[in-house]
Structure formats: C-alpha cells, structure tokens
Symmetry: C2
Subunit: 221 residues, 2 copies
C-alpha cells in the first residue's frame, strides 16, 4: 500500500493485531500498520464510504457485473475525488463471502490464468494498489522517464558531420560501393537516429573513423 502511496488500512476482525510478526515484516511501512483502523464488521469498516469494490478471484454465479481491476481503479478514483471509496479483500484462504460481496457496489477481478487463478492476498493487494496509482498518475504514468540530460545531445550539424565522415570512411575502406550504394547510408541513419547521439558520442565515433585504416583507393573510384 505504502509503495503505491495509499495509507488508509481497515482491518475487520483481525486474527491478531497488533502482531509482532506483521510489524516486523512491515519495515518502513510500520506507520501505516500502526494507524490501521480495526473494525468488528465489514459494514462498520465501510461507514462513510460512497463506493466499495470487492475483489473476487472466481467467476461467481451472481448477478453482479464484474469488471477488471484496471477499470475498477479508474472508476473508483473518479468517485474518490469527492467521497471515500474502499477496495475490499477477503481472507487468504477463502476470499470474500457472497454476503460480503453483497456489501459492495462493484466486483472486480484480476484476469488471472484460468488454470491457476488464485493470487496470494498480498499479490492481489499489490496489483490493485498499483492500478490505483497508475490511474492516479494518469498521463504522468505514461511519460517515459528521459535520461538525466547532463549529457548534451549532439546538434544536427554534428550528426550530419558524422554521417559525412562515416560515408567517406565506408567509401575509403571499400565497404560502400558508389556505383551500387544500395541503401547503406539510409540504414546507418536509421540506426543512429534511434540512438539519439550525444555530443561526446559523436566525437568518440568520429575518433574511430579517423583512425580507421584507409586502404589505397580503388582505381575506379
């Protein structure tokens, strides 16, 4: 929960709480566990909630609509902008009962492998918290994190200078045949375009080209 920026944990009739083993495992998130609210019933835990989403691993013979957790997270966040919402998880062994699911307004599932569909409780919670964070981040989550641009990118002139140098070298070593150049330089350009060359890298590459041994030019060139 804490890794995904969530903090409000409600526990319904916990077997043991506080629990020394749980506290030990929580490491840097102990504060979240310590501030958990202990309730006697699911209804009590859901007091004040405008929208409760129950997690289910099974396709149940029920008349509820079941959505995947990605859609559920998006819908939940829309409501959460104004009113509290809850994701409800059952026990490790048996999940939520039908009576507990009836306390929820929506049932969500993680579309697992039908041959082995039962995630650990902790794994299911992590996936749901992750989807909530992704939904909360919105477009921000889809931004590629660019490398730290302490490294200056090469200018277009520098890159064109490199291409010219490369072409000259390829001609000199006899790899590029000016009579039948095919698409060699186009391919080289596509390759290096993907790299987004840095200024220093261009210098490095041109250094290599400069030192490339130049065989005696072929007479017909």
């Amino acid at each position: 929960m804490k890794t995904m920026g969530l903090q409000h944990l409600y526990l319904v009739q916990p077997y043991s709480f506080p629990d020394a083993h749980a506290t030990a495992l929580s490491t840097g998130a102990a504060n979240l566990l310590e501030s958990a609210t202990v309730c006697n019933s699911l209804t009590e835990a859901l007091t004040g909630c405008a929208f409760a989403i129950g997690l289910s691993a099974r396709k149940r013979n029920i008349s509820h609509e079941i959505v995947n957790v990605r859609s559920a997270a998006t819908e939940a966040l829309t409501i959460a902008a104004n009113q509290p919402i809850a994701f409800v998880f059952g026990t490790e062994m048996s999940g939520l009962s039908n009576a507990e699911l009836d306390c929820c307004q929506m049932i969500a599932m993680i579309p697992a492998n039908p041959d082995y569909s039962s995630l650990n409780l902790s794994a299911a919670v992590q996936v749901v918290c992750y989807e909530l964070r992704m939904a909360a981040l919105g477009d921000q989550a889809n931004d590629t994190i660019k490398p730290n641009q302490t490294n200056e990118l090469a200018t277009n002139e520098a890159i064109e200078g490199f291409y010219a140098h490369l072409e000259e070298t390829l001609l000199n070593i006899g790899y590029l045949n000016p009579v039948a150049p095919k698409k060699l330089m186009g391919r080289m350009r596509r390759l290096y375009a993907r790299v987004r060359l840095e200024k220093e890298e261009v210098n490095l590459l041109r250094g290599i080209l400069t030192l490339t041994k130049t065989p005696k030019k072929h007479d017909k060139y």
Copy 2:
C-alpha cells in the same frame, strides 16, 4: 508467474536451489519452480533472448531511457511474438547492478511512491507479470464480464409497463403532483435504466406497487 500464465523461470546463481522452503511456498506452482533453468551468469541466462528489460526502482544517473512497466510489457510482447524476451530482476536486497542493467536493452520501473519506492521482489514480479498478461489479453482484458444471463432481462414493454404502474402509484399516494411533476419520472427512469432490470425483478417491483396502499385520491386530481 503462474497466476499470470508465465512459465519460463531462469535463476542466476541462486543461493539455494532446489530449496525445500521455496518448494513448499510454491504450492500449485511447484512445476514451474522444478522446471526452472539455473545459470551461472546473467549473460548465460539471456542467451537467445532478443530483448531484455531490467527492472529498476531507482532513477539512476545513467543514460538509459526508463519506461514504466506498462509500456515495457507492451513493447516486450510485440517482440515476443517472434523471439524470446526476458524481464530481469535483481536481488531482494540490492536490485540489479549497473553492470547487469547494461546487459539489458531497456530499463523499466514501477512508478512507486517516491517516499517509499522499494517494492518487495515478489510484489514487483507480480506487477510485471500482471502487466504482461494484461498486454497479452489486449481488448479482451478490458471486456466487462457480464453476469451469467440465466436471469432473463425485462423487455422494453415490461419496463414501460412498470414505469406506467409506478407513475400511477406515485400519483395515487400523492407523491407525484401532476400540476408540478418536476422531473420525478425522468429521475426514476434514469435510476432504473442503470439497473438493467430483469423480468422477475419487474414482477417483484410491480407486486410492491400493487400492494402500495392507495389513499383516497385528492379531489383536485
């Protein structure tokens, strides 16, 4: 891994393998653990791989581009249609070294809470496997699972019959003022439209309406 339909596990210099405790924890996924390939180096593990994505929790001062795991999963699957790909995870304690990340063609991260960003290894693996499954399911994953339609939905006529019955009852009990009806029936329609009433439910509701006590009609109606 197995819950998300994955099966090829490679272990690089495992501390203990096979390990009785790990086997016990794997329960129904023991077959996956038993068929794991043990390697002496990451390079050996990546033999034959066309694309390796390393997971990193930290923003490193490196010139690699870092993408989120959702984008990475989508890109990886495109390649995986033709050639093997790998997601590479480091140790629980310290993640992947820079040398190990340099063996990868892409670095992916889970956009965690910056104040507490270090997921457990198992949690990170679950999120990545989940994203791979979501990407593999594609549009299928976004399909809402409709309830088992053993329950016949009400026809339009049945629903209109119900609205007429409801309006009549609301008039009779004096809740709906025909002189100033406001938008009451429109609101009722919107409410029940969202429900997608079943045939039996319409019968049930009309039964309630039939038994709703009818006060003597107001003279002016």
